[in-house]
C-alpha cells in the first residue's frame, strides 16, 4: 500500500467560523476547520448533528449564513455548485438512470467542454481503475449495489476535483462488501491523491477510512484528531461515549500531582490511580472512562488495592473473536468487559462466577466535561 502523502503545511480546505441557520434551527454552529491536501477527513456524528449540512455547503448546495469556505485559497462564497472545483458522491449515488455507465461518467467532462476523444480516453481509464471496464454499456439498473457505488465514484473522480465529498459512501452496501470497499476506497485515494471529505455516522467506517476525524455534535465540531487520538484520548464524555463503548464513572479528585492523580468514585469500592496528571481544580467533579478491552478479568473472591474491584458475571455475549461480559460490581454498577478468545479449549468464565477486575494506571481517561 502506498504511503499517503499528506501535506500538513497546506491547509487545502479552510472552513472559517461557518454557521448555517434554517429559521430558528442552527444546523452548523460556528465551525472552523482546516483540512490538508491529500488526506481523508471524516466528519463523524449522529443524525442531525450538522455533518451533511456542512458537506452540502462545501458542494455549494447550501450557502453559509455566516463565515466562509476557502478551497485552495479561493473563497467559495457565491460560487454555484457547477463552478466549484469540487465533486460529490451522493449517498443514493444519484446515477442518471437513462444514461449508460459510460455516459454517466462522461457527463462531467462534457460540461467542461473536453474534446470527444479525450473524454472517451479518460472515461475508459477511470472505468478501468474502478474495475468496471466491461460494464460501460450497461444502464445503472442493470448493476449491483457495489457496482453502482463504483460508478458514482468514477463519475465524481473523473473530473479530477480538488476535493471529493463523499456522503455516507458505504451506507448502502452490506457488511461484507462494505469492508472490502473501504480498503478499495483508501487505495484509490492514495493512487489519485485527491483530498477526500467523508461524512458518516458509522464510527467503524470513519476509523478505517480517515487520516483524521472531526467528531460533530449539535452543529459543532467537538474534537478533531487521528482515529487513535479520538479513541484513546477523547476530550469529552460525548466523544468517549460516541466512539466505541466505554465504562464511565463519576468521581472526585482526591490527590492531584503533576505525575499522577487519585480519584474516588462512589460506584467503585476502590480509588482510581491514574499515572498522568490532569488539569482540573482540586476536589473537582470528574469522570473516569475505561474502555472494556482495557479491563483484565480473573476468577477470584477478594479485590485488594487500587484499580481493582470485585463483582459477579451477569451476562455473557459470545462474539466468536471475543466475548463481552457484563459484570455487576459489589457496589451495584454494571461494567462491560471484553475478553479476546485466544484459546480454543480454555475453560471460560461463566455466569454467576465471582471475578476480580483490574486495569493499568495508564488505562483510564479522566474527563472534566
Amino acid at each position: 500500500m502506498a504511503e499517503r502523502v499528506v501535506d500538513r503545511q497546506n491547509q487545502y480546505l479552510r472552513i472559517e467560523s461557518v454557521t448555517k441557520r434554517f429559521g430558528d434551527f442552527v444546523a452548523v454552529d460556528n465551525v472552523s476547520l482546516s483540512i490538508f491536501k491529500g488526506e481523508i477527513f471524516c466528519l463523524l456524528g449522529g443524525s442531525g448533528c450538522g455533518k451533511t449540512t456542512l458537506l452540502r455547503m462545501l458542494a455549494g448546495f447550501e450557502s453559509p449564513t455566516s463565515g466562509r469556505i476557502l478551497i485552495d485559497g479561493q473563497d467559495m462564497s457565491g460560487i454555484p455548485p457547477y463552478e466549484r472545483p469540487v465533486n460529490m458522491m451522493f449517498q443514493s449515488y444519484a446515477l442518471f438512470p437513462h444514461m449508460t455507465v459510460a455516459a454517466n461518467v462522461a457527463f462531467g467532462l462534457e460540461q467542461e467542454g473536453v474534446a470527444r476523444p479525450e473524454i472517451e480516453r479518460r472515461v475508459r481509464e477511470m472505468l478501468d481503475i474502478v474495475k468496471l471496464g466491461e460494464f460501460a454499456k450497461r444502464k445503472p439498473h442493470q448493476l449491483s449495489g457495489g457496482q453502482r457505488q463504483r460508478v458514482a465514484l468514477a463519475r465524481a473522480l473523473v473530473k479530477k476535483p480538488k476535493l471529493l465529498l463523499l456522503d455516507e459512501p458505504l451506507g448502502a452496501l452490506d457488511k461484507k462488501l462494505r469492508e472490502h470497499t473501504q480498503f478499495e476506497l483508501i487505495n484509490l485515494q492514495e493512487q489519485l491523491g485527491v483530498t477526500f471529505v467523508v461524512v458518516t455516522h458509522d464510527q467503524e467506517e470513519a476509523m478505517t477510512l480517515a487520516s483524521r476525524i472531526g467528531v460533530m455534535n449539535k452543529g459543532q465540531i467537538v474534537q478533531v484528531g487521528t482515529p487513535t487520538e479520538i479513541y484513546e484520548f477523547p476530550n469529552s464524555r460525548f466523544v468517549a461515549d460516541f466512539i466505541g463503548s466505554v465504562n464511565m464513572f463519576e468521581g472526585r479528585l482526591i490527590e492531584d500531582e503533576p505525575g499522577h492523580v487519585r480519584i474516588r468514585c462512589d460506584d467503585l469500592d476502590t480509588t482510581v490511580f491514574v499515572s498522568h496528571g490532569i488539569s482540573a481544580a482540586p476536589d473537582a467533579r470528574v469522570f473516569v472512562a475505561i474502555r472494556p478491552e482495557k479491563i483484565e478479568m480473573t476468577r477470584g473472591q477478594a479485590a485488594e488495592g487500587e484499580n481493582c474491584v470485585g463483582g459477579v458475571v451477569r451476562e455473557i455475549a459470545y462474539m466468536g473473536d471475543m466475548s463481552v461480559y457484563l459484570v455487576r460490581l459489589d457496589g451495584g454498577r454494571t461494567v462491560r468487559v471484553t475478553i479476546p478468545n485466544i484459546e480454543r479449549h480454555e475453560e471460560r468464565i461463566v455466569w454467576d462466577e465471582r471475578v476480580v477486575l483490574r486495569w493499568q494506571p495508564s488505562s483510564p481517561v479522566v474527563l472534566t466535561q
Partner: protein, 286 residues
C-alpha cells in the same frame, strides 16, 4: 375479466361497425342491407359485400382532405398543449405540497361543468360582439372587431383549452416522482440549471410527454363538437363528417367505413405508444 370488458365494450361494437361498413345503404330501418341473406327459394346463403364505401373514402377528395386536416389540427393542438402544459405541470410538481393540491384541484375544476357548456362559453368570448372583441374595442387597441369565431384559431383555442388537463396530469404525475438529487448531481458535475433540465429532467419525463400527447392527439383527431361549434364551415374535421353521415345523411355504411378509416389512422400512434411502454417496462425491471 379485462378480456370480458374488452369484448363487450370494444370487440363487439367494433365487429358491428366493421360489418356495417361493408353493407349497402337502404332507405329504411335500420338503414343498411344485411350482409348475409338466406334465400329460401334457392336454399342458399348469399353474402353481399359492398366495397364501394371504402372506394368513396379513397376517391372522394373530401374525405382525404378532412383526414389530413384533422391530423394537422390534432398535431398542432397537441404541440400547443405540450408547450403550455409542460411548464404548468413542472411548476405544480415543484411547488410546496399544500399549494400543489390546490393547483391540481384548479386543473380538474373545469370538469365539474359540462364539456358542451364550456365550448359554448367560448362562442360568447370569441364572437364578433363577444367579450374579447368588446374589451379590445373599449380599450382602443383595435377599431374593427376581429374575426375570431369560426376560424382555425377558434378550433385550436377550443381543443387546447379542453384537452390541456389531459396533458398536464400525466406530465405532473411523472415530474412529481423525479429524484431531485439527480439535478444536484448534474450541477455538481458542472451543468448549469438550463442544461441540467435538457439533459436530465426532459429525457426522464419522456413517458409523461408520450402519454400526455397521445391522450390529447387521439381524441383531438376524432373531435367533432369543438370544430362544429367553433370551426370553419368550409373545412370540416373527420369527426364532423362522421357524425353528419350517421345522423344527417343516415348513411351508416359510409359512416362506418369512415370510422374504420379513422381507427386505422390512429392505430399507428397507439402501436407506437404500446411499443414504447413495453420498452419502458423492460427498462424498469430489476
Amino acid at each position: 375479466m379485462p378480456y370480458f370488458w374488452l369484448a363487450v365494450f370494444f370487440a363487439v361494437p367494433f365487429a358491428i361497425v366493421f360489418k356495417i361498413s361493408f353493407s349497402y345503404m337502404v332507405p329504411a330501418q335500420p338503414g343498411y342491407a344485411p350482409l348475409f341473406e338466406w334465400l329460401e327459394e334457392s336454399r342458399r346463403l348469399v353474402a353481399t359485400f359492398n366495397l364501394a364505401n371504402y372506394q368513396v373514402l379513397l376517391q372522394d377528395s373530401l374525405y382525404l382532405n378532412t383526414f389530413l386536416y384533422s391530423l394537422k389540427v390534432a398535431a398542432i393542438s397537441t404541440v400547443l398543449c405540450l408547450l403550455l402544459g409542460y411548464p404548468m405541470a413542472y411548476a405544480i410538481a415543484r411547488s410546496a405540497p399544500t399549494t400543489r393540491n390546490l393547483f391540481l384541484m384548479l386543473i380538474i375544476l373545469p370538469f365539474w361543468t359540462s364539456f358542451l357548456l364550456r365550448v359554448y362559453a367560448w362562442i360568447g368570448l370569441l364572437k364578433t360582439n363577444g367579450v374579447i372583441n368588446n374589451t379590445l374595442l373599449s380599450l382602443g387597441i383595435i377599431d374593427q372587431p376581429l374575426v375570431l369565431l369560426y376560424t382555425d384559431f377558434a378550433v385550436y383555442v377550443g381543443i387546447v383549452y379542453s384537452y390541456l388537463p389531459f396533458m398536464i396530469l400525466p406530465l405532473y404525475s411523472n415530474l412529481e416522482k423525479h429524484d431531485l438529487t439527480l439535478l444536484e448531481a448534474a450541477a455538481d458535475l458542472g451543468a448549469r440549471p438550463f442544461k441540467a433540465f435538457f439533459k436530465i429532467t426532459l429525457p426522464l419525463s419522456m413517458p409523461g410527454i408520450v402519454a400526455g400527447c397521445l391522450l390529447v392527439f387521439i381524441p383531438a383527431v376524432g373531435e367533432f363538437v369543438i370544430p362544429s361549434l367553433l370551426g370553419r364551415t368550409d373545412q370540416l374535421m373527420i369527426g364532423t363528417v362522421l357524425s353528419a353521415q350517421f345522423f344527417g345523411a343516415r348513411n351508416w355504411p359510409v359512416a362506418s367505413a369512415v370510422a374504420i378509416g379513422l381507427l386505422l389512422v390512429l392505430l399507428l400512434p397507439i402501436l407506437l405508444f404500446q411499443r414504447y411502454q413495453q420498452r419502458e417496462l423492460e427498462a424498469s425491471r430489476r
